[in-house]
């Protein structure tokens, strides 16, 4: 809006030099507390800018400095270097203490996403209390994902970009140990062999035996 018309005219023909673009990206990232997407950067920058390239250069420039350029999901942010956290006692935010159940539920959602409530209960071997999911939703660390294409089309849960930002992850694939867990088959949703599933404990044994078996041969 405050751009001079002549300037705008010019940018139709030529984007600003890369050094200048880097400055722009730097200014925008510094000013924002939230991660900014490449798309958002480019709508703010003059026409023809290559924000992605400017970001790569900026990230390099800040390597080893007191603040770093980090990627969160599909957005970028500046964050202080973790080794300097001890200087920031004044800024430290007390995060709500999560219960063991909430922490485990969060980890299961992160590693198994998209995951249904029933699957979480199957993994933990106990029912998930309403408060737990509610708390994680409220913290905006999880959200509803798409429905599962299984009978009843249950809703699923996935982690959010706020979650990634909080734990310093670029994306959910960077979760520690994810590859190893997958290789070990521990992220599979393996159906119980026939009769008995821990999730269905309350049901009648005989009924389970029959229904379970047919399930066995279905797939």
């Amino acid at each position: 809006m405050s751009q001079v018309p002549e300037e705008q005219e010019e940018t139709l023909f030529e984007a600003p030099p890369m050094g200048e673009q880097e400055r722009m990206v730097e200014a925008v990232l510094f000013a924002s507390t939230e991660p900014v997407t490449v798309r958002d950067l480019e709508t703010r920058m003059p026409h023809g800018c290559d924000a992605a390239e400017a970001l790569v250069r900026l990230r390099k420039r800040y390597e080893g400095r007191g603040v770093r350029v980090v990627k969160v999901d599909d957005a970028w942010a500046i964050r202080t270097a973790p080794d300097l956290g001890y200087l920031m006692q004044k800024e430290t935010v007390e995060t709500r203490k999560l219960s063991r159940a909430a922490i485990e539920t969060l980890a299961i959602i992160a590693y198994h996403q998209p995951v249904t409530r029933a699957e979480i209960e199957e993994i933990r071997g106990v029912s998930v209390s309403r408060g737990t999911i509610d708390q994680l939703l409220e913290m905006e660390w999880i959200r509803f994902g798409r429905r599962k294409m299984t009978p009843g089309r249950p809703v699923t849960f996935v982690v959010t970009s706020e979650f990634l930002d909080h734990f310093g992850l670029e994306n959910a694939r960077d979760l520690p140990g994810l590859k190893e867990l997958r290789a070990a088959g521990l992220l599979e949703n393996r159906p119980p062999p026939g009769a008995f599933s821990l999730g269905e404990r309350e049901e009648d044994d005989e009924e389970e035996a029959t229904s379970g078996q047919s399930e066995l041969f279905e797939d």
Binding site: T95, L106, I108, I123, G177, A184, L186
Partner: protein, 261 residues
């Protein structure tokens, strides 16, 4: 068959002691699977090589001990005990070819898988929580900048708002359509309609009360509504740049006039 199980059922002293230790803290466990995971640690082997048979014995000893101490165990602990007893018999007896269903080995393998998976998730959770975290180990910008005065209002809502909103409507105990008696209400739109054609003549400061419509000045209810509407309409006209408004002090008359520039 019963005899067979009975003979196999001798539990070592160590297992009895382990069971006793668990009993003390049964409230600290999150259910049977949690207890089983705890018990499996006493085997000191890789969870993949765990002896489910031994585990079943340990668990049954734990439940037995609880019974001796006349402790109330939650139902799911007992259901698990029943299932483990069943599993144990399956593991000990030669497979019956006439019987359908999964073999004892398959069931045992699945239980071992569940334990390993739960343990893996606990480890993952611990690693996750030990990561450098925003607001504790690394920090976002403390002061976002406010450089221009152009302020656009962007309305937003979260999915949670949306769902709570919907839930609110669908669970409303009863809804009564709200009917308002509009007889004595003068709306801002009406006030605007009234003021627009005459404001051009208001070149001098004039009390907004002089703009009240005929027949609305005396009845207190009507007067209040008309005053509020006229005031709101005046603000609207000021916002549009057609008029100026002033008030010398609190509760003093509010005056308006046509904007001259």
């Amino acid at each position: 068959m019963a005899e067979n199980i009975f003979q196999e059922d001798t539990v070592s002293v160590a297992e009895r002691l382990a069971a006793e230790a668990l009993i003390v803290d049964v409230d600290g466990f999150e259910g049977p699977l949690d207890v089983l995971l705890m018990l499996s640690r006493t085997q000191k082997v890789d969870l993949r090589k765990i002896s489910v048979l031994q585990l079943a014995r340990q668990y049954l000893a734990f439940v037995e001990k609880a019974k001796q101490l006349r402790l109330e165990l939650a139902a799911d602990y007992l259901v698990m005990a029943a299932w483990l007893a069943f599993l144990k018999s399956r593991l000990l007896l030669p497979p019956d070819p006439t019987e359908d269903g999964p073999s004892g080995e398959e069931l045992a393998a699945h239980l071992a898988f569940q334990l390993e998976r739960l343990q893996a998730m606990r480890d993952a959770a611990a690693r996750l929580m030990a990561r450098d975290r925003l607001g504790r180990d690394f920090f976002a910008r403390g002061q976002s900048e406010d450089v221009t005065r152009i302020r656009t209002v962007k309305y937003t809502a979260t999915l949670l708002d949306l769902m709570q909103g919907y839930a609110r409507i669908r669970t409303r105990d009863e809804f009564r359509p709200f009917v308002m008696d509009r007889h004595n209400v003068f709306t801002m739109e009406q006030a605007l309609e009234r003021m627009r054609p005459i404001m051009g003549y208001a070149t001098d400061w004039a009390d907004i009360l002089s703009f009240l419509p005929e027949g609305w000045e005396t009845d207190p209810v009507r007067r209040r509504s008309a005053t509020a509407a006229t005031f709101a309409a005046s603000l609207e006209l000021v916002k549009e740049g057609h008029m100026e408004i002033r008030q010398s002090e609190t509760f003093a008359p509010i005056q308006i006039r046509k904007r001259t520039d």
